[in-house]
Amino acid sequence: MNVAQMIDRLRLDRDFRYNLTAWRTLPQRPARFADFPPEVRPELREGLARRGIEQLYSHQAEAVGAVLRGENVCVVTPTASGKTLCYNLPVLNRLLVNPNARALYLFPTKALGQDQVKELTSTIETLDVKIGTYTFDGDTPANARKAVRNAGHIVVTNPDMLHAGILPHHTIWIRLFENLEFVVIDEVHHYRGVFGSHLANVVRRLKRICAFYGAHPQFICCSATIANPREMAEKIIEAPVHLVEDNGAPAGEKHFLFYNPPVVNAELGIRASSVKRASQLAAHLLSRDVQSIVFARSRLRVEILTTYLKEAVRKMGKSDKLVRGYRGGYLPTERRDIEQGLREGKVMCVVSTNALELGIDIGSLDVCIMTGYAGSVASTWQQAGRAGRRNTVALVVLVASSAPLDQYIIAHPEYFFEQTPESGTVDPNNLIILASHIKCAAFELPFLEGDSFGLDPHSTAELLDYLAECRVLRKVRDRWHWSAETYPASELSLRTAAPGNVVILDTTDNGRVIGEVDCFAAPVEVYQNAVYLHESRQYTIDRLDLEDKKAYARPVEVDYYTDAEMKVDLKVLDRFREEPTADGLRCTGELSVTWLPTIYKKIKFGTHENVGWGEIHLPEQTMHTTAYWIEFPEDAAERFAIGKEQLASALHGLANALRQVSPVHVLCDLGDIRAHAMLRAPESEKPTVFLYETYPGGVGFSDKLFTHHDRLLDAAIALLSGCPCREGCPSCVGPAIETGGYGKQGALTLAVAARSRTGSAASSTGSARHSREGGSIPAGSGSPP
């Protein structure tokens, strides 16, 4: 059975269609070709022709042309549109002219880098010249490193290795830096938030070293579709880029379905498991011999789905080798094996985390099933791009989970299909990140008076003087020198935002790791005597060791769960910006956040009775960060007719809802932002809802939220009004038990009131159904064509 037949069959399936909220058909798109730019050397064209590439797609030709003119380029194209050629072609072309030239490729993961080298090597083989292409990463054996340094024309690495392994040793990479002409940064959309802020600083350091050796490389960036690729690329490389976004690659017809599992418990707002539904669908495809990819959000879900599906194929009397799991933590050889199996059709179904969302070559599949919303419009399109060959029909199904964000998206398909993808955020000048990189940069080369690093020369000098006062640097005459015994790059990791995670160990099972929580959440989730739920098993925590970042747990069977009460104190240190809203203010600024868990309650399953409590003895923690907040007038309770008692739960509900929808507009993870509501905020003494960043100092999310204030509130309104629950559920404001009965309605009222003046007219009726300018479509209305 082919995909078209499969789609026809689904169209006739009444039960299936009943749970769909959208069925969109994306039309076929023909290829648009363009000639090779005249500068491309004939031997390279012949080589490509031998690999079957006779013509370039229009976007490739534009990108290559711009690079050859000497511009920095950012190419924005979906999966499988031939973007690697956009940088490989000009780089190889240059190497044919100047065999001394060098190029540096940066990929966010080692696997991608190794993939790239394979691809490059096969292109180079057709050229009959000696061009050395090597990966240089943690896996490169010590005895091969010297060869890479001296003979590698193209060095493929990752930002972490560049930061800790190459830049601090630039004197032995002199060949590379003296002749560096191209820096390729692939998957730019991946470098958002903290990681991107670090990368921008690593690029600053790279440019500094290149300048020392007299090189001024050109940058070629590639990105998946996001709202602001130019801004992202320009922030990371700090130079203007030529944006290429007119995709000339062909695509077949694509059907995009939104599937919402039916509600099984209306009171608690619980839906049928998305994992079950996705696996049923995938099993169905397997029985019809249709090749598919299933995305799941966590490693655990990947394992569960793989187990279900393997069982299913065995029942069909087929080999369970047809189904493979794919995620971080698998061995590289295992992964290569799966990738090859997919290309050759030996693997019919692969279950993956977002590891396969990045540009690893697995060929194209017929169907893509997403178990849960990928977290952002950009990733969803990336994942969807895995399905679809150039001239056949493809099917993409998004199966929503009951998480608030999923429910918002599934109920508002127009949001997904019409909205531009999220914008990525980087803040290279986060003081903590910047200062760490200035240290690394000073280690690499002394700073001269008048130098600038991200900041203007005067502010750079101020920061350098500060570091000199701390005796990390020493200023002599007009130079600041690194002046400590340590190696600063080894103390700085580019990826971890928080100071690390607390791992949860099962003491009855040889200390097996059963899960982890970030340090921020540990005191409220894994305090002593807490009941920790994992894979629907209960564990009680015997001890939390914050210093060693370990929580010791053992399995128990009790009929209650625990809920910690945390005393959070916020202090506004500084206001950066504020704007009036209809009845109050919205602001961004710097906060000092102090949190202290005080007691926990034992709450019985089912009845939600409070059956006991205990104290939590843990130290208080403090952090300075940036935040975005909404202030309501002091008389909010009267003005909005909420009632004094209910105001607290309304604020709490709004805080929860805002936090849940914040990833809709800002490319961040749920864990990057926390929410807190206060009846009387210190200083202003007004009812306030705070959204603050979890990375000390913040990395720019607050600013983005401030800018998208109205759209954020619209999303929250849509989420609340679209949710079928009565009094609040985990899919919107949080369970009614937490927010109180009035939480949902009150939150809605507040959200409407918090819109800024200009947009408030649309919502002034108080009807929360008015959500977005386009008007919202009630859940379940998206019908198949």
Binding site: P168, H169, H170, T171, I172, I174, A442, F443, E444, L445, P446, E469, R471, R474, V476, R477, R479, H481, W482, S483, A484, E485, T486, Y487, P488, A489, S490
Partner: protein, 479 residues
């Protein structure tokens, strides 16, 4: 918060005042009443001033508070006037570069100068072939000892990388009948450029470098410094004898720790006095940058000089040992065996055989004899001296009758060369009989490695003899 601020805050919190403040206050306040003889306790904050107290202080070598303050003030004064600058404390002279100065401390030693048991001049007499031998590097036969530089650095860290600075670079060489040791020192970061300029000029004359761990540490680091200062690094083209590898080859067997310090104690007989531990050196220099008090650096200069002198005598001592008549060149049997191994590694099999015979003629530890026999047998094989090989193998087998490897090698020799399969079988069966029963030592399912080794060989031989009985049990049944 600067350390000063911190100190102030601490003083305030504890209600203390500084010595100067106290002195001022005391000058203003009326003097405290003299302590009554009945109360021997100190008046608060003061010093007991009477005859017995003075006598007691003298006897204990203590100072009165006043004396201490005076001395401290004098010290501060001296520091402010540059009395503790390095050229005053350590000596040496300031050398001008194009843009700045650095400190050069030159020490000249007569070649007869004894460092431990060996005089420096011993190195000068060494034969380049010997250097090539213990450096395990053929190119060193070309080296000219007059143009050999002994190099060592003191740095701000061990991790390497572009931000690690060599603040003290030592270069020693033989010149006009003397050993001339230049210690180039950075008084601050801006001294680096003139210092490297000077060194670049000096390195122009260098054809060989001798170092301790210089191949992986000092030279790459120096190279980085030269590159960063955009100066030409001439040592890249020089030959290099890195004694850390030599030391490991010759002494690893006897000394677990082959650090230069340990070699000095165990091999060279050097005793250091007033040394500083190497691990403290980076911080001492970083502290000096702020305090400008170079007195703690005296130990660093001493440590650095001693390191370089040890390089020289290590070379001298090794080549002197090699020059002695063959045989007992080293006093320790472990070292003799290491020498044997070194010859073996360089494929000088005749030498191995000769030295090995001499070695076996003396008493030594069984383990070492076994190793020597194994090496000799293999050397004979490589040199195609099969009669000697058989002799060595038989001696090995005789002296170590339960050694499976000896038995197997001997059996193989008879199997392949003398074609005496009977003898080969006999060697194996005899040895098997001598081995402790596997049942006693190992679980029934397992068998000892020695057994496996020999029975496997035995099976092969028996197949050739045409009387193979399959399985290993059959063999054990015989017994």
């Amino acid at each position: 918060m600067t350390p000063d601020d911190k100190r102030k805050a601490l003083f305030e919190k504890l209600g203390l005042i500084t010595g100067t403040d106290y002195a001022k206050k005391r000058a203003e306040d009326p003097p405290p009443p003299p302590p009554s003889p009945a109360s021997p306790l100190l008046p608060a904050g003061g010093t007991l001033e009477n005859d017995s107290a003075r006598r007691l202080r003298e006897r204990l070598g203590l100072m009165s508070g006043l004396e201490w303050r005076q001395r401290r003030d004098a010290e501060d004064d001296a520091r402010d006037h540059g009395a503790f600058e390095v050229d005053k404390v350590v000596g040496g002279k300031l050398v001008d570069g194009r843009d700045g100065q650095f400190l050069l401390l030159r020490t000249e030693y007569p070649v007869e100068h004894l460092h431990g048991h060996t005089e420096l001049g011993a190195a000068l007499e060494s034969d380049p072939e010997h250097l090539a031998f213990f450096g395990n590097d053929e190119t060193l036969v070309e080296c000219n000892l007059e143009k050999t530089f002994f190099v060592d650095t003191e740095t701000t860290g061990l991790s390497g990388g572009a931000g690690t600075v060599a603040f003290l670079i030592g270069v020693g060489r033989f010149q006009d009948g003397l050993f001339v040791l230049d210690q180039c020192f950075m008084r601050d970061y801006d001294d680096e450029e003139p210092m490297l300029e000077y060194l670049a000029e000096r390195f122009a004359d260098c054809d060989t470098v001798v170092s301790f761990n210089g191949k992986s540490f000092d030279l790459p680091l120096l190279r980085t410094r030269f590159v960063q200062n955009r100066q030409c690094f001439r040592l890249d083209g020089a030959m290099h004898l890195d004694l850390v590898h030599t030391a490991r080859r010759f002494w690893k067997r006897r000394l677990a720790n082959c650090s230069l310090g340990n070699l000095e104690r165990e091999v060279l007989g050097v005793r250091r006095t007033g040394d500083v531990p190497g691990a403290l050196i980076p911080q001492l220099w970083l502290d000096y940058l702020h305090s400008r008090d170079s007195r703690p650096l005296q130990g660093v200069f001493y440590h650095h000089r001693m390191d370089i002198l040890s390089l020289v005598t290590l070379v001298g001592m090794l080549s002197r040992q090699l020059r002695r008549a063959d045989g007992a060149q080293f006093d320790h049997v472990e070292d003799q065996l290491s020498l044997l191994r070194a010859h073996f590694r360089q494929r000088q099999y005749e030498k191995v055989i000769a030295l090995g015979r001499a070695f076996l003629d003396q008493d030594s530890i069984a383990d070492l004899r076994r190793e020597c026999l194994e090496m000799m047998a293999l050397a004979c094989k490589r040199a195609a001296r099969f009669t000697d090989m058989q002799e060595a193998l038989e001696r090995w087998h005789r002296e170590f009758p339960t050694d499976a490897q000896a038995a197997v090698e001997l059996a193989k020799h008879h199997e392949h060369r003398t074609r005496d399969l009977r003898r080969a079988e006999q060697v194996c069966t005899e040895t098997l009989e001598r081995l402790p029963s596997p049942a006693r030592q190992y679980a029934a399912s397992e068998t000892s490695p020695s057994h496996t080794l020999i029975t496997r060989r035995l099976e092969r031989i028996r197949i050739k003899l045409g009387k193979n009985r399959p399985g290993t049990e059959a063999i054990f049944e015989d017994e």
